[in-house]
Symmetry: C2
Subunit: 411 residues, 2 copies
Amino acid sequence: MSKYPVSPLATDLPTLPPVRGVRLASIEAGLRYSGRLDLTLMEFAPSTTVAGVFTKNKCPGAPIDWCRNILKHGKARGVLINAGIANVFTGKAGFDAVKYSAQAAAKAIGCSSEEIYVASTGVIGEQLPYQKIIDAMPTLYQQLDENQWKESAQAILTTDTFAKGYSITTKIGNETVTIQGIAKGSGMIAPDMATMLAFVTTDAKLPASLLQALLSEKVKTTFNAITVDSDTSTSDTLLVFATGVANNTEITDINDPLLQDFAQAFETTLKELALLVIKDGEGVSKLIEITVKGAVNDDSAFKIGMAIGNSPLVKTAITGEDANWGRVVMAVGKAGEPANRDTLSVAIGDIWVAHEGGVLTDYDRNKVNQHMKAETIKIKVNLNLGQGSATVWSCNLTKGYIDINGSYLRS
Amino acid sequence: MSKYPVSPLATDLPTLPPVRGVRLASIEAGLRYSGRLDLTLMEFAPSTTVAGVFTKNKCPGAPIDWCRNILKHGKARGVLINAGIANVFTGKAGFDAVKYSAQAAAKAIGCSSEEIYVASTGVIGEQLPYQKIIDAMPTLYQQLDENQWKESAQAILTTDTFAKGYSITTKIGNETVTIQGIAKGSGMIAPDMATMLAFVTTDAKLPASLLQALLSEKVKTTFNAITVDSDTSTSDTLLVFATGVANNTEITDINDPLLQDFAQAFETTLKELALLVIKDGEGVSKLIEITVKGAVNDDSAFKIGMAIGNSPLVKTAITGEDANWGRVVMAVGKAGEPANRDTLSVAIGDIWVAHEGGVLTDYDRNKVNQHMKAETIKIKVNLNLGQGSATVWSCNLTKGYIDINGSYLRS
């Protein structure tokens, strides 16, 4: 856990009950930190399918290569997660570290190493002392339990200031199923993907191809719609495991009406986890929700939203509780997407302050200024060009960000 | 001038001697500030040609529209510059403000208003009280003088903490000519263009088309290769005026050998002014020089350089004097350009710290740490993929940036 003050936007970790088909444990392996949990193993039932999305960074860590490669089998028995060392830019040693770690977990669980997913987070360029992982494995395996979610939500953190999890139940036909996940942030959050590691499990029975299709669709409006600082981690990983222990009807079509409640609950899970990541953005004190309408298409709206969400000038204005809509105009203009200054309207906190190319002289300044003091700042932009829309989330830029990132390696 | 501490990278304004064919003056017009020069007029000889480049922001200020429109004539008799109000997002009132201001200056100088360039810098969304400009014009015109460069270098500033100018003499054939410019920054510096306003004059005789070709070429490696915070101003303007008072040989071809010394001096002028802008980046304490080699082409190298230069994580690491090359790797990977982790090498302060996908265990850490304390931090990246190269300049991200931009409107 971080030595920095807990985010003012932090929320308590909800109760994370057992998910049928999942056992987990976390221990102190002393990989980089001392005196804290830093190595986590989740074990899944033999019927488990898996889906995943990963960073688009061109210099990914060795674990990303590993996971991408085995994902094609669509089967999973475990995931091994370490915090402190990202195992990025470590050459062949990095690949070996992943391979031998996965082999150790596979041996303990009794499966192929190609059914073991691996995720690492922390500093870049340091080698992962994988012998410590191998040595820790028997103890780690022995401690596997249905009730270790809280500990694991803690163990995967790095500079995060609070543990992040979400749990929801829904139905597939008459069968009640659980969707439950944990995540960590908190710098280098930008699509695609956000910085983070996130692990979502469900006891539902779903083919891997369907799970992947669902994930690929729902990630767009959730984890890929958040940004902290425009930087894209080399380790971003979002994995979804469906243990198949539930007795739900077999579903093969993403448009099957029986899947719709589940799909909705799944999207909610991803969105809630994504917002928790933003709420722990490094140095954050305000969440920013940006809604873009009237763009030429949804993709264009998304890019404009991200240009606003990533603008240091917009982010610092919000830190100063300054309703500086002029910087929003600037950010719209710099996105490189179709925009017409003279049809552009901007609202802050649902109050329109600029309309079709000019400031509104009579808007309620007190109400806008009051909104700027809130924890969540809403910015709305209407380009009045077409039907494209998007919502993205960001956070403000504070001195805390500079404190954290100006001294990370020396901490 | 700014209420913020003078940049530690500030340099003294050099002596700015008269440039043949240029008279200038600055006065207190009380447009937004009080007790400081805020309105500047430069008058040019009747033979003056002009070239310009402007922000690519899709929501530019009214002055940008005006200048772009008249630039096609290639002739200039004056430029009118105000500081404090950007005249952006002001609708028809903004257009009127430019038109009537230009008409007033044209009347004083005795030329067409389409020979008067206009540039504004400051807050967005406020209307420019152009009647004050019209009222000030007779006095402003009366004060025109060859020796007002220092005053004008001051008058065009906003949050800048020091005045910026550069002067050089060179030859076209046997004729000695001067190239001299002034510029202002200092937030929202990003290509294309950098944030700023810059006005470069020369007494050389050059056709407008040649001047524009020269500017368009040389801006790429100078003003378009700098970034402060990735934000792109709505008002960026770089204008070059050649008064034609010198008796140099007529030149019509950009490749004419007689032009090469001038072209070199012109590039130096643009580069020095651009670096002065970076050295006054909001909250700056270090200049960052990023050299990218081995990219698939120059454009790709440039984009990778900018991804590094705009990365908040790289910029804050440099604030912490932390040789965090891992973040450089991350930034290379997020640029979206061809890059191969396993051929990538990174140097800091000319010392290679990572080579072809792995950290070098035996590099001189003391020397690297020593370099991190310097005012100019050098980052070198070799992708080892092709022959593309580029150099870009950025600055670090500090708490000062947040101080300045979190309270701008309220200052």
